[in-house]
């Protein structure tokens, strides 16, 4: 285990990923000449994201590396260069001198300071120190998801005068977002953040997939479990369900018991079915269900419950297609969470639909 792994490398990867989504063509540059592991780590991160990484392991002069990287970026048409500089355990003269040299030598357009919001006021102090000594353009707060108090996020701007530009919101490499003060304030006050949900949905939404489904349904085919799985995975891509709920106005402080585990269970159930069963769920008899329960590590009851709610979804889709959905139904669907209902409730609903 390497405890000296610092935050900038992951953040560099996340940032590159985000910028690429915005149509940029980033190049990551390993500027940590003291730790070979840092170079390796950046290469791994870059490899995962399929973003080019420039490293020169024989060169010890950071300024030279940065300059080489810039030339390569020009020749390879990368329009953004992200320098991942070395970190220290504490702020010391040596580090500052090195960073100043890079600043003078390369003239970066943006200097972003990566700080851990979990450290609270310490993060603010670090930001202030870096800003005084080096001058920064903005702050990237990591682990904002874990900081339940949020003191750092609120104080940084006021104390240093430099804005927070990005915030890391989770461990996955796509969990970084641009920091929007307005939306964040709404979220804190429980007014919800619908804009961010829409953006996230747009980002992850697979238009082709949706078109395929639409065509299929138009052809009068029934929704099958393969489609259901595809939909489920689309929703999952948007991030954890509970974090999405928090952004909906009024839902922020309601402790809804929707765990992402429920999703995982359903995914496991569908994945344990054969292709034939997925296309024709009516095949599922008792012994098949038993097999699936074993395969997915669930109970037969779970499968029964899921199949009930699935059948319901199917018939709802049919009704919607025919366009004669009872307005009361439409209203209900807004609040419905099929997977959370008990079997009796599901039965009742199914009867109503018939």
């Amino acid at each position: 285990m390497d405890f000296k792994v610092h935050g900038k490398t992951t953040t560099a990867g996340k940032l590159a990923n985000l910028l690429r989504k915005q149509g940029k063509n980033p190049l990551l540059v390993a500027c940590d000449v003291y730790r070979p592991a840092a170079i390796k780590q950046l290469q791994v991160v870059g490899g995962q994201l399929n973003i080019p990484v420039f490293a020169n392991e024989t060169e010890k002069d950071v300024v030279k590396i940065a300059k080489q990287a810039k030339e390569i970026a020009i020749s390879k048409l990368n329009d953004v260069v992200i320098l991942d500089t070395a970190g220290r355990l504490q702020i010391d003269e040596e580090l500052m001198t090195e960073l100043k040299n890079v600043k003078l030598g390369v003239k970066p357009h943006e200097i972003l300071l990566v700080v851990d919001s979990m450290t609270g006021q310490e993060a603010v102090n670090i930001a202030q120190k870096f800003n005084e000594d080096l001058g920064i353009d903005g702050v990237v707060l990591t682990k904002l998801d874990g900081d339940t108090r949020g003191g750092a996020a609120i104080s940084v701007k006021k104390v240093t005068g430099k804005p927070i530009k990005f915030a890391g919101t989770g461990e996955k490499l796509n969990e970084i977002e641009e920091f929007h003060p307005n939306r964040m304030a709404s979220r804190i006050l429980g007014m919800g953040d619908v804009l961010s949900i829409i953006e996230q949905a747009e980002e992850q939404f697979d238009a082709e997939e949706a078109l395929k489904l639409e065509k299929k349904l138009r052809k009068n085919k029934e929704l099958d479990l393969n489609d259901y799985l595809a939909q489920l995975r689309q929703v999952k891509k948007m991030g954890s369900f509970s974090s999405l709920l928090k952004m909906i106005p009024g839902m922020g402080n309601i402790n809804l018991n929707v765990s992402d585990k429920e999703f995982e269970k359903i995914e496991a159930i569908i994945c344990s079915m054969t292709n034939k069963e997925r296309e024709n769920p009516k095949l599922l008899n008792a012994s098949r269900r038993m097999r699936i329960a074993k395969g997915s590590g669930t109970e037969v009851q779970d499968i029964n419950k899921f199949m009930k709610s699935f059948e319901l979804t199917q018939s709802m889709m049919k009704k919607m297609k025919s366009g004669n959905l009872d307005p009361r139904m439409k209203k209900m669907m807004g609040k419905l969470n099929l997977d959370k209902m008990s079997e009796d409730e599901l039965n009742e609903l199914a009867n109503k639909l018939k």
Partner: protein, 122 residues
């Protein structure tokens, strides 16, 4: 999610305000005291808190909130505006240069994300 503790307190505060038909200055002071404690508990810098509270207090009094028809909503709006201001005001994005490449330099101390990463490298 971030800001849980603070969020809870501020939401309790706004709920209280929403129902009020009339707010007196002492009501306001009492409530602001609670907000102040919530912010301090959230580990917000002391000076920042003080300024924040003073701003809300002045604005709330200055804009005739106490006489307006929906004083609660007014105060909530002021709180939100101030909070936005505190978090940075407008959105700040990266300034890309017209002649690429834009060079972004990431700096920081070690350990900003270390347990996340150590988990990954394990």
């Amino acid at each position: 999610m971030a800001f849980e503790g603070l969020s809870e307190k501020l939401q309790a505060f706004t709920r209280k305000l929403r129902g009020k038909a009339r707010i007196t200055e002492s009501d306001l002071n009492d409530m602001l005291r609670e907000v102040k404690l919530a912010l301090l508990e959230a580990d917000v810098n002391y000076k920042v808190v003080k300024e924040f509270i003073n701003n809300i207090h002045d604005k709330a009094l200055g804009s005739d909130v106490l006489k307006s028809l929906t004083p609660g909503q007014q105060v909530i709006k002021i709180v939100k505006d101030e909070l936005v201001e505190l978090l940075g005001g407008t959105d700040s994005k990266i300034a890309f240069t017209p002649n690429p490449p834009t060079v972004i330099m990431l700096i920081g101390l070690q350990g900003s994300r270390k347990d996340n990463n150590s988990r990954k490298t394990c």
